[in-house]
């Protein structure tokens, strides 16, 4: 070890910059083909897949939709969606706890996207991230619109414990609202925490099982799709 001070080189580079550029490229290519990529993240068991089922039913034939499912292992979720008649592909991350833009691109390729210039076979692709409330928010998977789902049984304090997931979301979904009747979830405290972390994100209170709040969320997605991509056809 010498005592001489080395030369300092300023780098000032975002560590996840390469992935961010790949994600931007995906967004631009999909937008040019009229496809909205909707990202959904949340804890394991927060009801992401059930919400996707309800949303696709709610959107109906208005939008041609497909789903990319990501899990460490198995194709349980993709099988479940295909059994309901939806087009679904399953990504296995093999231990990785989040999707990155490169993995999303693989799932899109299975759907034939982005494909040649011009209109694509789908209007909406939903990408369900690995069940994880931590790094799924830090690594851009390429979605043009990101939803974070938190279920009532997880507790109203979670935005303050996992802030990054909420800071970056385009909308927050409180799922399993039928459990609010149990009484120990403080909805006002939850609203205040979400508003502090992300004042511009709308909050949707949804019970996919009962169908409550699904229409409002589906309408918002259609409206955002029109704003980001333009009208279909």
């Amino acid at each position: 070890m010498s005592d001489t001070r080395g030369r300092i080189i300023d780098v000032k580079t975002e560590i996840l910059g390469d992935n961010a550029r790949e994600a931007d490229r995906l967004r631009a290519e999909l937008a040019a083909r009229g496809v909205l990529l909707l990202g959904i993240r949340g804890s394991p068991g927060s009801g992401k897949t059930t919400l996707i089922e309800a949303l696709l039913r709610g959107l109906g034939p208005k939008l041609r939709s497909a789903v990319i499912e990501a899990d460490l292992e198995s194709r349980v979720d993709a099988d479940r969606l295909e059994a309901l008649g939806f087009r679904a592909v399953q990504l296995r991350t093999g231990g990785f706890c989040h999707l990155d833009a490169g993995m999303t691109a693989e799932g899109l390729a299975e759907l034939g996207l982005p494909g040649p210039p011009g209109p694509a076979a789908y209007d909406l692709v939903v990408v369900e991230n690995v069940g994880n409330l931590i790094c799924t928010a830090q690594v851009d998977e390429g979605a043009a619109l990101d939803l974070v789902v938190l279920s009532v049984p997880e507790g109203h304090d979670k935005p303050l414990k996992y802030p990054v997931s909420f800071v970056d979301a385009d909308a927050v979904v409180l799922s399993k609202s039928d459990y609010l009747a149990m009484g120990d979830f403080d909805l006002d405290a939850f609203r205040a925490a979400v508003a502090a972390l992300n004042p511009s994100a709308p909050l949707f209170v949804v019970s996919a099982r009962r169908g409550e709040g699904v229409r409002e969320l589906a309408d918002w997605i259609e409206e955002r799709r029109r704003a980001l991509i333009g009208a279909r056809g």
């Binding site: 010498s2 000032k12 560590i15 690594v139 303050l160 990054v164 970056d168």
Partner: protein, 123 residues
């Protein structure tokens, strides 16, 4: 394991900034307080991943960038810790005036700031 791809990215960026033949002595990161990156794990992975290259033996310094809270009521900008900024009900409030009209502004940074290199010698 979200630290590992991050470490690979840090090494790539550091190596592309390192002049040919130089050795890296120090790598300085700025990590926002809201990022879930544990400095001890970053350092441990870095030590292993850097083996056999110019960053071998380099010190990884993690500078924590505080999260900040802007208050709409009194206008103040305060650094805060999530746990300290909360009341018992799990609400965020302004440390200066107590208002709940607060918005999180900073703390999600993730940047390689600078490296220190030794040229034509040993570290």
């Amino acid at each position: 394991m979200h630290e590992l791809p991050i470490i690979e990215s840090i090494l790539d960026i550091a190596l592309s900034a390192t002049p040919s033949g130089a050795l890296v002595r120090r790598v300085e990161l700025a990590v926002g307080a809201l990022c879930d990156a544990e400095p001890a794990w970053l350092e441990r992975y870095f030590r292993v991943a850097a083996r056999g290259g110019p960053c071998e033996g380099a010190r990884l310094e993690v500078r924590r960038v505080p999260a900040t809270l802007r208050c709409a009521a009194c206008g103040s900008l305060s650094e805060f810790e999530f746990r300290l900024g909360m009341t018992a009900a799990g609400r965020l409030s302004c440390p200066a005036c107590g208002s709940a009209e607060v918005v999180v502004e900073g703390g999600t940074d993730y940047r390689l700031e600078r490296i220190e290199v030794i040229e034509g010698g040993s570290r």
